[in-house]
Amino acid sequence: MDILIDSLLAILTIYLAFRCMLAPKLSKAVFVFFAFGLMLALAWIRLGAVDVAIAEAAIASGFMGVLMLDSLRDFSLIFSKNQERLEETASKIPIKKDSYHWTTALALGLGLILFLLISIQAIWEVPQGGGLTAIAEANLPMSGVEHPVTAVLLNYRAYDTWLEIGVILMGLLAIFAAGGLKQYRKPGLAPAQDPLLRKTILIFTPVLFLFGAFLLYFGKMGPGGAFQAAVLWGAIGILLHLGGWTVFTVIPRRMRQILVTIGLGFFMILGFTQMATGGAFFEYPPAYAGFLILVVETLAAISIAAALTAIFAFLTK
């Protein structure tokens, strides 16, 4: 039975991935991409990786999907507001052939198949490495949390996580850089939209917030944690934004900066203080480990949520 479900899920996932690539219309590809993300999340659950499933659903599929959808507006003619301009430019650009020369396709296809076969064989023959489950488990009591994934994320490999929080901040900066910062400075207030939507959003906001907080706290014991919570909190910002409340114009600049950097900053300063007291970077005093991790997670979640909101706000302006 398991095999059947797994096989079905796997085949579906693969099919959707194919569709993503081959769907004739871009919009369709994006929608399929959504579905692909959901299938993948199911697959994670099947593999017992609930944390990953939440992260996948929230970030890779949810957040990314929203961004994709939003960018469809730019790319496809259907959603385009300034159709005229696009047609004008379209006429200037020579119409590109959408297909490749058959030799190119053949060569690539052949290469791809070879690659696939070899990689399948390689994966098939992966020897039992044993993983680190045993050590992780053995050290779990000292980590200050009960959920091993959280322990890894915020204690064993806190350094990676710290860098990762940094990456999000960098991503935000990068997106600013790509757009030029000037436009960010002058956000126009979106006109009031569908009142129903606004109401719904207002209702959802506290729910999302609470659910996020729960995930955050629950991360100590089971699936959940900073990233998952952050996405939910970020969703608040996104929803508010969609509803016309451009949150980032409301929050003062200094505050924004603090919001965005507090996770990274606190984590880092914590690390430095630990080092100053003779420990290693990110070495928690065992007694306070649980608490400190919670604080770090909270702040990180705030930062990430702020960053995600900012990204969305900036991209969809």
Partner: protein
């Protein structure tokens, strides 16, 4: 040979990676290329997690899970950045595919 969850998903991971790889080279539209990279990533992450499943003792190996979460965030950030670049390019030039720029 036993076919179990691990085997299925690890094979799927290889196929997803291949699809992503092919897509990123063959797809023309920026958006599709970006999606392809995400699919590639999905393949890799699936591979990781399937190992976790295989090596599970009392619980699944947490390290790959943590790695994958980190990986997803990083990959998504990169993809979002790519998306912003693509949109910006489109806005500035109206192009949505790579040309032969120097």
């Amino acid at each position: 040979m036993k076919i179990g969850t691990y085997e299925i998903y690890s094979l799927t991971s290889a196929i997803l990676f291949a699809i992503g790889l092919g897509g990123v080279f063959l797809a023309k539209h920026f958006l599709r290329k970006i999606i392809a990279t995400i699919i590639m990533g999905a393949g890799v992450f699936l591979c990781f997690v399937s190992f976790a499943k295989r090596d599970a003792l009392t619980f699944a190996d947490p390290i790959p899970h943590a790695l994958v979460i980190t990986g997803i965030v990083v990959a998504v950030t990169a993809a979002a950045f790519a998306l912003s670049l693509a949109r910006r390019i489109h806005k500035l030039t109206g192009e949505d595919t790579f040309g032969n720029e120097k």
